[in-house]
């Protein structure tokens, strides 16, 4: 009884995560880089799912995916009441977290680093791939972690577009609702513990990334280079030492939430 919703939740979350990662990264990079009229409008619309009631988001999705929509009528794809529709609902609801976090992290990358890469012969695409994204990876990972946790717990919008069909679209949050309705508390307890554990683990991971992040910028303890033993194979970004040299502009990173939306450039 618990395996079906668990596997469905996994399916939905994996698909949603892929969508969140690709869409969120592109949108985040785009919003951090390009300055265009109506930028604040676009960014507001993208953030709406954070504050709208899930039923309203679900209603919009019904209009977009349902009868009379281009996807249904022109492409002939009927997504309503499939687990894929659930994944789309999860994506839309969780996407703002990823976009916002990525945008702030990218905007926070020291522009001198990118200028340096350009003078060394890099194209814009290479700068993005080899300098900007690797430098901003903490903010991007934190955003992904948060949004995956949010996608996993999605309930309302999923119910509207995917329904609550056991074995087909019933994910863990929906199964918990059913179990409580039917007063099957043992089953509900198990699923609640499972959900809480996974969500806790994801958030803990995100906080740890952020803690390392602020640690690396706020504690520039002047360690002598000789005290650190650089060993071979430390290329994994998570293993390498985080000692920073103080007052070094290339290490200038602020909390990812402190980078405001850039206003349109003058001139």
């Amino acid at each position: 009884m618990i395996w079906q919703p668990a596997i469905l939740s996994l399916q939905v979350t994996v698909l949603a995560s892929l969508l969140i990662f690709s869409l969120g990264l592109s949108l985040g990079v785009f919003l951090a880089r390009k300055h265009f009229p109506g930028q604040i409008f676009v960014s507001t619309v993208l953030n709406l799912p954070l504050v709208l009631p899930p039923s309203v988001v679900g209603y919009f999705l019904l209009i977009i995916l349902g009868r009379g929509s281009p996807i249904k009528e022109w492409l002939g794809i009927d997504l309503l009441f499939t687990w894929q529709a659930g994944a789309i609902a999860s994506t839309v609801v969780a996407l703002p977290l990823m976009v916002e976090s990525t945008r702030a992290a990218i905007a926070d990358v020291n522009p001198e680093l990118e200028a340096a890469a350009r003078t060394l012969g890099s194209t814009e695409w290479e700068v993005l791939r080899r300098i900007t994204i690797p430098t901003a990876y903490r903010g991007i990972l934190a955003g992904l972690g948060l949004s995956v946790a949010r996608a996993l717990g999605e309930f309302g919008a999923t119910l509207m577009v995917a329904g609550n069909i056991p074995g087909r679209t019933q994910t863990l949050p929906l199964a918990i609702y059913d179990a409580v309705q039917m007063q099957r508390y043992t089953l509900a307890n198990i699923m609640v513990i499972l959900m809480t554990t996974i969500a806790f683990a994801l958030l803990w991971w995100v906080r740890r990334i952020e803690a390392q992040h602020s640690h690396s910028q706020q504690q520039p303890s002047q360690q002598q280079p000789s005290q650190q033993q650089p060993s071979q194979g430390q290329t994994s970004p998570r293993n390498r030492p985080r000692a920073t040299h103080p007052c070094h502009e290339t290490d200038r990173r602020y909390s990812k939430t402190s980078a405001p939306l850039r206003p349109r450039r003058q001139l």
Partner: protein, 359 residues
Amino acid sequence: MKLIVDIQKHLPHYDLDVSFSLAGETLGILGASGSGKSITLRCIAGIESPTRGTIVLNDRVLYDFRQGINIPSRDRKMGFLFQNYALFPHLTVAQNIAYGLKKFPKAMVKHQVMRHLDQVKLSGLGDRYPQQLSGGQQQRVALARALAPEPDLLLLDEPFSALDTHLRNELENHLIKTLAGYQGLTLFVSHNLEEAYRVCQKLLVLDQGQVAAVGDKQAIFDRPSTLAVAQLTGCKNYSRIHPIDRYTLRALDWACTLQTADPLSPHHTHIGIRAHQITFLESLDQSPIQPNTLSAWVAWTSETPHRMTIYLKLGEPSIDTNDYHLQVEVFKEKWDRLKKRPMPWLACLSRDRLMLLKP
């Protein structure tokens, strides 16, 4: 190797208008902070775009407003050393240096990186991350990274400003030696005149976005043509003037009459003399009596490890420490002999040392 720059850029507080050409030497761009030095360098590197003008390097047009040419940074073949080095924090030292060498085969890149690490005396530190290096080491990595792709032009943006004094000397000597073996052209931006003087053969002085002087460094120090250049090259004493005849003038701020070696022209509005070029006479009966010898009283003195700065009042004793006309710099040994003498002293402003200045 030839670089021709003639650019204008509209900036919020003033308009930048710089033009110069350079062949073979190292050019130092000297100016106060905010005078447009760094922006000039960034325009040449293609990091920022000028509003108008041309930039030509060895017959390659890099920027031309009228022809609509603006070659992107990546194709300009320039090495840029940033003020804070801009080392890539997620790449090792070796990877940083190899960054600009991606068009070469792998084995060659490895060899080149080793050679450049060796050249900046950092062999063995290739596996470290920039954060694990000291400021001076980071600067040398940045220099190696800028030089590795063998650029036609090397741009140095205040490369010593983030370093302690004792490191500066060492790295300055290292830079001078490195530049001696480098084939391309170098532009060196600095607000420190002594540093610029040591590193470069030619100087360009920027003031409020305009070229105040350009040419051989000794000529600029000896014969600054304008007041701004005199001030930027460290001249401490200057006064407004009122001409009396072709070689005589009244120094209004110093309340004295002076003779000059160069003929006065109506363009000259100020006169100046450097603090270490003022001398003192033992007594008036020294023969032959020199012109421009004035009686002077000490207003106050300030001490540095090896020198003494003496603030002098001409003509009469000074009222307080702010009441002075001239600053004189002497070595401590000289000061030890001077201070025993009774007032007034005889200060000599040699005719050859006086600099006539335009506004």
